[in-house]
Symmetry: C2
Subunit: 345 residues, 2 copies
């Protein structure tokens, strides 16, 4: 592969001149510019990004740490991050930790060794103690959907309480009084914030949160199935279930279906996240949508600001607003009636 020296030789100029015409960092006469361009074309020369990174001390690369890209929600996050990064000329190295803390730490070390310009972490298994050494290297880190207690890191997240309020109010508005939730592990602030929003909306409607109507899941589909099993054993089962993510809501829908029940008649179901698959379920899923494109872009922009050394001294926290998407799993809406009609012909 041709190097800058080959180009310089062929164009009969110095490597400095070649470099300057490539980067536009110094005026070069049009004659030499032309000679250099031709030489580059002739050799189909491409600057070596590795050498450039070494010299410039920047790799134009960001590391993305994710539990598993196979989970649709994470896939969407990665997608939006990659798109935004690409717009700014950055590439992303993807790491799936598989929820293993040891793996995550190893990947982190590797990313640091590769001298990534920054990191975006989602749902990291590590705690403050593990992230501290990273921060000390000066590598900027942005947390996605999570904040590190004790460590002052930029983050982008959702107004989770508001999301829960939207979902809850929706169910209340449609007459439900016994609303159950399938929440996440108590460790995650995401879950506790949503519980808060849920409780607030309930009390503002004169209701109280019945601990019997709370099932703790793990954000995987099976949790939803188990939740339904549990709720149906109650003397007075709920009439609506609000799952804290779409995967668990999918599990709910399927468990309902297998019992010969169907949402929203037998049970109204609302999810959370707004993964694209939520629109393809039967029935389609009412859900609280996270604006992931915006969030991914925000994460990248926060990170780039840090990389450029622009950010303020203290950490910045960007919080975005969710949006309720009403579909068929919670109410009989106009569209589904139309379709039912069509099916008659």
């Amino acid at each position: 592969m041709a190097s800058i020296r080959d180009v310089a030789e062929l164009a009969d100029v110095s490597t400095a001149t070649v470099s300057h015409v490539i980067n536009g960092t110094r005026p070069v006469s049009s004659e030499l510019t032309e000679r250099v361009r031709q030489a580059m074309a002739l050799l189909s020369y491409r600057p070596d990004a590795v050498a450039r990174s070494l010299r410039r001390r920047e790799t134009l690369t960001i590391g993305m740490l994710v539990p598993s890209i196979e989970i649709p929600f994470f896939a969407s996050v990665v997608y939006s991050v990659e798109r935004a990064a690409s717009d700014y000329g950055y590439s992303v190295i993807l790491c799936n930790s598989g929820w293993q803390q040891a793996t995550e730490e190893a990947q982190l070390q590797d990313l640091l060794a590769r001298r990534v310009d920054g990191l975006i972490c989602i749902s990291a298994q590590m705690g403050p103690a593990e992230i501290a050494p990273v921060v000390e290297t000066g590598t900027p880190v942005v947390m996605f959907e999570r904040q590190m207690p004790g460590v002052d890191l930029d983050s982008v997240g959702l107004d989770n309480a508001q999301g829960a309020r939207l979902a809850t109010r929706h169910l209340l508005d449609h007459g439900h009084r016994r609303i159950a939730i399938v929440c996440g592990p108590a460790i995650s602030s995401v879950s506790t914030e949503r519980i808060d929003g849920f409780r607030q909306t309930l009390t503002s409607a004169g209701l109280t949160l019945d601990p019997g109507l709370v099932f703790t899941g793990d954000y995987l589909s099976d949790s939803g199935r188990q939740a339904l099993d549990y709720f149906l054993t109650l003397d007075e089962p709920p009439t609506a279930i609000f799952a804290f993510n779409d995967m668990m809501a999918l599990g709910l829908l399927q468990a309902l279906y297998e019992r010969g029940l169907v949402a929203p008649d037998a049970m109204a179901v609302v999810g959370f996240d707004g993964i694209s698959l939520s629109q393809y379920t039967s029935p389609s899923l009412t859900t609280v949508r996270q604006p992931l494109e915006v969030m991914g872009r925000a994460a990248v922009e926060l990170l780039l600001a840090r990389i450029r050394g622009e950010g303020p001294g203290e950490a910045q926290h960007v919080t975005l607003e969710p949006e309720l998407i009403v579909r068929d799993s919670s109410i009989h809406n106009h569209q589904s009636v139309e379709f039912t009609h069509v099916s008659d012909h």
Copy 2:
């Protein structure tokens, strides 16, 4: 960040010695080894992968080109590739082309500039003409689920015809005689191979392929909906539909549901791919599973063999066998009966 020189100085040895204790490339007395280790620990030294790559002329990085990680099938491919690559000490740079050929070519150039050790491409938009310059650089390329006509590239794919045979035989075995298919664009060999398998099984059962029962989709969910619309306008609609991927099958299920119909009673449905979501639909989806973990690993291993210069002269093509996963969308199976029973209590 500490460099190898700092370590050498602190341990009072040469950089060569430090390098050799790091890499074990030369015997070093236990005394110096110990001094070096301590110095590294003291400075929390991590070798700079960029500098190492420059010198060693390898980056331990592979590029992965995908249309969109948001599509579950691609997400699974990327997942399995990343896991396998990671096992071999390689990182992967992820590129979403968005099905844009221009984007794809730009990303390719960027990956080459970054001196990735190899590339894995899936569903590339480019043709032989565009990939040729890449091949000329000597960078190994493995195609996933596709072969490049004219260019001799390694590839890993599925026995698509066999997959179609499995699905078709399954439907025939359960009494279906009018089986429709929702195939992909005629350009993709994947689709034509599956059509072949479908036709073969049909003829071996004394049936012929009815062109009226073929709908050409684009592998997105909406295609499935449109396909159902079309099939139901026929004088004699099919009793079963075989979709060439799970996303289109999801569209079918949803369209059925919205008409008040339900699989498998009103219509048997079989998908293809075996994305993890296919088990969470209502009803759960019978599908032809691609062994993606194996395929991802195979792609990485093919690539690494090329990188090491081990491969044979001509291109290698690994073809893996699909597996039929029978669930509820095609037949009333034992499990669903059980569940129905449970719902009675």
